[in-house]
Symmetry: C2
Subunit: 392 residues, 2 copies
C-alpha cells in the first residue's frame, strides 16, 4: 500500500448513499440534476445517427486532450462568458472531477497548502486531501469567501499556498455566490501573493433571474486562474464531460497526466455533447432548466419560511441546486437518522468542512431532485422533526 | 509544479501521432482495433433504445465501482475463463489504462521497484514511471518472460519489488504469449517472494487457432494477482470500459482512488457494453474478429518471409495485433523518417524498453488496422527500404 493509499478516505456523502437513496424517501441529499431535465429523446436520436454515420470515429480511441471540434466549441462558449481562450488553453476531462484530480496531481506535493471555502465541495476536498496537501479553510458569508480572512491566511502561509479553490456561483454546498467586487479582490490577492486560483463553475448557467457576475477567469491578466466547467448539470452527468481553461503549460501537464490516467475520454460521450452544442439543443434547454430549478428552490424557501422553527437559519440561493441550513444547538448527523426513518433525507454539513471540529450543526438541502410537492412535504416533515428534537 | 509533474514525459507513441496518422500512409503504427470491426449498426440501435427507455438511469451519475449488472456479467465472463470472482473483487474502469493508473497510485511510492517485461506496454511504463517507482525489466523470449532472470531480480531486489507487470497473451508490443508452464512458475515466484502480479490481458480473446493457456489469476490461491481486462479490443475502445479483478481490499482502495479521480465512469458506455454482453452480440462477434485479425497477421508474416532481407528477424504471434521485428545493426527511428516519406509507418521499439539504452534496433508492426492488400504492400515497401539502408 502506498502513502497515497493510506490517505484515502470514503467520500462522506457517497458513504451515506445506502441510507439516502431509498426511493420511498424524499431526498434532499444527492446533489444531482433531476433526470427529468435530460433531453433523452433528442440524445437518443443523435446517438443513433452519430454511431451509424460516424461509428468508426466515435467508437475509436481519441486524442488525450479531447475532440478538437468540441474544444473549439468550448472556446466559443467561454468567449460568450467573457473568457478568451485558445484551444491550447483547454482540455476536456471526464467530468470536472477529473480536472480537479489532474490539477492536484500536477500542482500539489504533500505539505503544500490549498485554501478552500468553509464549507466547500466534498469532491475537491477529497482530491486535495488525497494529494497530502494541507487544507486551510476560509469562512463564507452571503457574498462568498471573506476576503479579509483570505488575505490573512495568504499573509501567514506565504509561499506554501499553491492555489485557492472556489466555487463561485451558487456554491456547492452553501448556495452562495461570490460578489462581483470580491471576484476582483480575490484576483488582486492571487496576483499579489502569486498563487493560482481554481475557479469551479458547474452551476453558473443555472441562475434563476440574472446571470451571475463575470467569472474570475475573465479578470485574469497574469494567467493565474484555471476555470473548470462541466456539461453534467446543463446536459447529463452520465456523459462525463467537463473542461478546464488555464495557462498553456499547466494544461499541457494535465494532458500528460491524463494520458497515463485513462488515455482519452469516451468518444461517443464527447461527440454527443458536441452535437448538443452544435445543433443548439443545449442553448434551447437552458431557459427550461432555469425555470425547473427556480420553481423547486422557491418552493423550498417558501416551505422553510412557513415551517421552520425558531433558531433555524438558511441561505437564499439565486441559482444552482442547494440551500444551506444552520441548526441551533443540534447535531445534523443524529437528526439524519431520525429523518430517514420518517422518510426524508439530507446531507449533514460537517463533511463539507476541512476542519472536522466544525459544522456539526449544519446541513445541505438539495432541491434539484424532487417534485415541488415533495419538496414542500419533505421540508414540512423535516422542520417538524427539528421542532420535536428542540423540545425533547 | 509537483514532483509528480516533474516526472511526466510524453508517451513516445502518442508523440509520433502527427507523423504516423496521415491517411495516405500505410500504418503499422497505432495499436488500435480496426474500426471495421465495430458493430456500429447494432450499437446504434442499442444506444437509441437504452437512452429512450432508460435515459434517466444511463445519463445520470452512477456508482464509482461501476454498474452492478455489468460487474455480475464480468464475473460470469471471468468464470468462463477459469477465474472465480465475486462482485466485491471487481471494479469497472475507464479502459484498463485507468486500472493501471489506480493500481500505481494505491501500490507505489517513489523508490519502489516494479518488474516489467523487456519490451513492455508503453501505457503501463508511463503510469509506473509517473509514480516515481523504479522499473526493472526482464527479457522475453518466445515463451514470454524469462523465469530464471525474473527470479534473479526478485532475489536481488527483495522487499522493494511491489509487483510484476505482465501482458500474458499476444503481448503488446512483442506478440509473444507466456507459456502455460511459465505461468505456474511466475505464480510460484510471486507467492515465494510475496509480490503482487498485475496480469494485463486485453488481447486474450483475439486468438487465431487455440485459446491461450489459463490466466495466471486462475492459479492464484493467495490473492496475489490482479487481472486486468478490457472491452476496447473486443467491442470498441471509444466506450472506455475495462475492469480489474483482485483482492477485495485492494479493489476497495482502487474504488476510493477512482472516487476522487472521476466520481464514476460513463453510464451510457457501461450500459452499452452490458447490453452487448447480455444480448450475445459480443460472443457472436468474437469468431469474426479472430478471423479478421488472423488474416491480416498471416498476410504480414507471409510478406515478411517473402520480402525481408537477411538479418531481419520477427516474432510469430498466435493472436492479437502485433509482430515484433529485430533489425541487424540499424536504428529504427532513423528508418521511420525515411519510411514515412515513402508512405509506410511503424513504431520504433526503443520506447517499449524501460532502459533507454536498448532496443534501438527493434520495431513494432501492428497488423490490426490495414487491409490485407495494404499490409502486403506496406511490408514490401518497408523491407525494400531496409535493404536499401543495409546497402548504403
Amino acid at each position: 500500500m502506498s502513502l497515497y493509499a493510506s490517505r484515502l478516505k470514503p467520500n462522506a456523502i457517497r458513504a451515506l448513499a445506502h441510507l439516502i437513496n431509498r426511493p420511498s424517501v424524499i431526498s434532499f441529499a444527492g446533489g444531482v440534476p433531476s433526470s427529468q431535465t435530460f433531453p433523452a429523446d433528442e440524445i437518443a436520436e443523435i446517438a443513433a445517427r452519430l454511431i451509424r454515420e460516424r461509428g468508426s470515429e466515435v467508437l475509436q480511441y481519441g486524442v488525450t486532450r479531447g475532440r478538437a471540434e468540441l474544444i473549439r466549441r468550448v472556446c466559443d462558449y467561454m468567449r460568450a462568458r467573457s473568457i478568451e481562450a485558445v484551444p491550447e488553453q483547454v482540455i476536456l476531462t471526464a467530468g470536472s472531477q477529473q480536472a480537479l484530480d489532474l490539477l492536484c496531481r500536477v500542482l500539489l506535493d504533500p505539505g503544500d497548502v490549498v485554501i478552500v471555502e468553509a464549507p466547500s465541495y466534498i469532491g475537491a476536498l477529497c482530491a486535495i486531501r488525497n494529494s497530502g496537501a494541507r487544507i486551510v479553510a476560509v469562512d463564507l458569508d452571503d457574498d462568498g469567501i471573506k476576503i479579509d480572512e483570505l488575505e490573512l491566511v495568504l499573509r501567514q502561509s506565504g509561499r506554501s499556498v499553491k492555489f485557492i479553490y472556489t466555487v463561485t456561483n451558487f456554491q456547492n454546498p452553501s448556495g452562495v455566490t461570490l460578489s462581483s467586487e470580491r471576484r476582483q479582490q480575490l484576483m488582486d490577492l492571487a496576483n499579489r501573493y502569486d498563487v493560482m486560483v481554481v475557479e469551479d463553475d458547474p452551476y453558473g448557467e443555472l441562475y434563476f433571474e440574472h446571470s451571475p457576475p463575470r467569472p474570475i477567469k475573465s479578470l485574469d491578466e497574469e494567467q493565474k486562474v484555471v476555470y473548470l466547467g462541466s456539461f453534467s448539470k446543463m446536459l447529463a452527468p452520465g456523459l462525463r464531460t467537463g473542461w478546464a481553461v488555464g495557462p498553456t503549460g499547466l494544461i499541457r501537464l494535465m494532458e500528460l497526466a491524463k494520458e497515463a490516467a485513462d488515455l482519452c475520454s469516451g468518444g461517443l460521450d464527447q461527440a454527443l455533447v458536441e452535437e448538443c452544442l452544435s445543433c443548439g439543443l443545449l442553448e434551447r434547454r437552458l431557459p427550461v432548466l432555469r425555470d425547473f430549478y427556480k420553481l423547486r428552490c422557491q418552493t423550498m424557501l417558501e416551505a422553510l419560511s412557513e415551517y421552520a422553527p425558531q433558531g433555524v437559519r438558511w441561505t437564499y440561493p439565486r441559482g444552482g441546486f442547494f440551500v444551506w441550513v444552520w441548526l441551533d444547538n443540534m447535531d445534523a448527523t443524529s437528526l439524519l437518522e431520525v429523518a430517514v426513518e420518517q422518510g426524508v433525507a439530507f446531507v449533514p454539513g460537517q463533511p463539507f468542512f476541512a476542519d472536522e471540529q466544525v459544522g456539526g450543526n449544519t446541513l445541505r438541502l438539495a432541491f434539484s431532485k424532487e417534485t415541488p410537492q415533495r419538496v414542500s412535504e419533505g421540508i414540512s416533515k423535516l422542520m417538524m422533526l427539528i421542532r420535536q428534537a428542540q423540545c425533547s
